[in-house]
Structure formats: structure tokens, C-alpha cells
Amino acid sequence: MAVWYSLLLVLGMSLFVYLGAGLLGLQAIFGIVVPYAAILVFLIGFSMRILGWARSPVPFRIPTTAGQQKSLGWIKPSKVDSPYTTWGVVGRMAMEVLLFRSLFRNTKAELTEGKLAYGSSKWLWLFGILFHYTFLTIVIRHLRFFTEPVPFFVQALDRVDGMLQIGSPVIYQTDVILVAALLFLLIRRLVNPQMRYLSLPADYFPLFLILGIALTGIMMRYFAVFKVDLLSVKVLAMGLATFNPTIPEGIGVMFYIHLFLFSALLAYFPFSKLMHLGGVFLSPTRNLPNDSRMARHVNPWNAPVKVHTYEHYEDDFREKMIEADLPVEKQA
């Protein structure tokens, strides 16, 4: 159900744009209003989510440790996997964000000959990281539509990405890898009954949405029927970027579908699990040093408790205690 629901939603949106921008000629809505609105929702929504998280206290040290804690001098501590300094945490976060280190440790539990056994399982890590890096490359390459002159790093990336020089226009490796990785991530949820049971529309929808963006882009680039005039696309994109929006004549509807799905992704982003983009930096299980034995951590929202120590008690009643011959710590 969840799968079909998500797929239908993405197809429905595409059809909606086909009707709106293709048949009714509402290009100004799909080319100007929707993208600007989506960008606003994204920027404000993203900031609100981060500030919301920043307001939540983290009362305990809860780093997940994956190595020896700092302890006696002759026991070798694991500086990065159980970090106890700021640089240790920085190293750990960098490896988490750039290399998906914790996912690399992913294991799979299986019953073999009646016994539970854990085995290494790296496919999710591999396709996960392929997906993220190809996506990033494609987004950076797209800057050619939003910059004039096109910066050096965008041109260089474009050339490296097309270095196999297959066909004309040349095939970008990232396009092939992105689609393969997305299909893996999708099929992974479908073939395994447990995964399927756990998957919700919120899991399938982003996959279909990004797949939709990728496939419309690919159709626009490689298939003659769907090709669009890129110079006009650049005029539209630069119009958006310079706050001087225009709708050039004759950009094919495939472009508007691509742009609309992208806008949908932007607007959906702050409200979805995709917020892990910001959230990963705020995960207390990763970004706290494991130093509870070295420093005292006080719960930040501890209510101030009024304490009355024995010393105070004695101060209050010292004379009376001496009169009654009770022992006191401090003489009057």
C-alpha cells in the first residue's frame, strides 16, 4: 500500500504539471511562484527545525561508544571511536558525515543451522554513500544554470563526470550510479519482508520523488523527444537567481515537471526524515565526548533545589544544642 500510495503521489504530481504547465500554459506558476515558495518553505522550515532541536536539552551523556574508553594510563584508549576530547569528536563526526562510518559497521543477524549469527553487511553502506555523493555532484553541476560565468569547479566537475565520453551529449557517470543506487534502496525495502513491514510512505515517497527528479532530468538530457532548449532554461534559472524572473518561450514540459518535483522535494524536506542532513550534526550519540568519568555534567534543566545541609542546621540550633549537651562540630 505504502509503495503504491507514494508512487501514485509522484506520478500524480507529474500529471498535474503536465496539465498545468503543458496544456493550460500556466508556466509562470510552475516556473516562478512554485520554486520561490518552495525555497522559502525550505529555508524557514529548515531553520525552525534546527532551532527547535537546539532548544531541547540533552540531560545525559549518551554517546554510543565503539571503542575503549579513556581510563587508566596503561590501557590504550580509542581516541575517535570513544572520543574524550573535542578533536576526537570532530574526527568522529567527520568520519560519520563524510564516510558514513556507523553504517559501515552495519551487521545482519541470521539464523544459520539453528544458531543466531551476525555477519557483515556492507551493501546498504555502499549504495547509500554512492547515492549521497552522486546526488551532491549533480546538484553542484546544476550550478551551471545559476551562475555566469560558470565557476571553475563546476566546469571541472562537469568534465570529470563526463570523462567516459560515451554518446552525445556525453553520459554522466553520476546519472547512471544515482539511478542504480536509488533502485537498490527502493528494492531493499521491497524484497525483505521485515523491511517492508517497517517501511512507511515517508520512506518510499522521498525515494520515488528523487527517482522522479533524476528520471525526468535524464529524459531531458538523453532522449530526443523530451529534450529542451538549455539556453532558455538558463535564462529562466538566472531570472530566478537575480530576482528578475522571466518565462522564456518554448521550454518543454519535461523541464517543468523536473522543476516541480524538485520544488516538492525542497518544500517537503523540513518536515521529513530528510532532515537528517541537519540532524546528524546534532545527534547526541555522536557529538558528545565520552568523558563522564573526567568531568561532572549537570543536567541543564535541573530545577534549583533548596538544600539545607547539616552545617546550616547546626548554625540554626547551635546554642540550643550546646545547652542540651549535644555534640557539635563547630563550637560557638
Partner: protein, 128 residues
């Protein structure tokens, strides 16, 4: 708010990165590069609109036909015949004789760098 000293700068850096297209273009307007069209000829090999988006597919077909099948004559819808040649037809003195003001202006705007001219000759203009 907790750890505002780290989270706020982080958020600002992120917002700065994602709004790059907007602030890097502040105060600028985009001028569409002007493409110099051939004077001697009215029509392109195929319809102009189609060529704008699809010329690389046509060139690819031509290349394959010429190099692999030794077919070097192309007849368009109107029955007109062309030599299937990058330099001798597209860039001929009748048509896009000046690659700089036509092909390159559009390609540069979009960071497209075809490698064709590593091998193929670009006709020189202004010399006989």
C-alpha cells in the same frame, strides 16, 4: 537554547551555502548571449527549433553514418542534400563560419565542452 555558539554559526554557514545562487548574483542582470546567425542561408539542416536542443544527436548520427557506414549524403525533409560533415557543412563559410560567436557562445554559457575540435579543424575566418 543550548550550544547556541556552535549551532547558530553552523546554521548560518548552511544557509549561506544553499543560497549561493542568490547572493553570488546580487546586483547583476543576466544577458542572454547573442548568437550570430548565418546571413547567406535561411534554413538550418533541420528545423531551427529542433536543432537548438537536438543538434548533438544529429552530429552523432552523422558521425556514425560517415565513419562506420561510409554514408556521407544527408537528405532533409525538404529534399535538400548536405554533406554529413562537421567542418564542411555546419561550419562552412555559408553557415556557422564563426564558431566563436555561435557554437561557443551558447556552449560557454552552459559549460559544455565538446571535444570535437581536438581533432576536427575549425575553419579560420577572414583569410582566404
Amino acid at each position: 537554547m543550548y550550544n547556541a555558539g556552535k549551532i547558530i554559526p553552523g546554521l548560518l554557514i548552511f544557509l549561506g551555502l544553499v543560497t549561493f545562487p542568490f547572493w553570488s548574483n546580487l546586483g547583476r542582470a543576466y544577458d542572454v548571449p547573442e548568437l550570430v546567425m548565418p546571413e547567406a542561408e535561411e534554413e538550418c539542416v533541420l528545423a531551427g527549433d529542433w536543432m537548438r536542443a537536438n543538434h548533438m544527436i544529429l552530429l552523432d548520427d552523422w558521425r556514425d553514418l560517415a565513419v562506420r557506414d561510409n554514408k556521407r549524403l544527408f537528405t532533409n525533409d525538404a529534399g535538400k542534400r548536405f554533406d554529413m560533415s562537421l567542418t564542411k557543412t555546419c561550419l562552412s563559410s555559408q553557415c556557422h563560419a564563426n564558431k566563436d560567436t555561435f557554437c561557443d557562445r551558447c556552449h560557454d554559457a552552459l559549460a559544455i565542452t565538446p571535444n570535437c575540435w581536438d581533432c576536427h579543424v575549425v575553419p579560420t575566418i577572414g583569410e582566404e
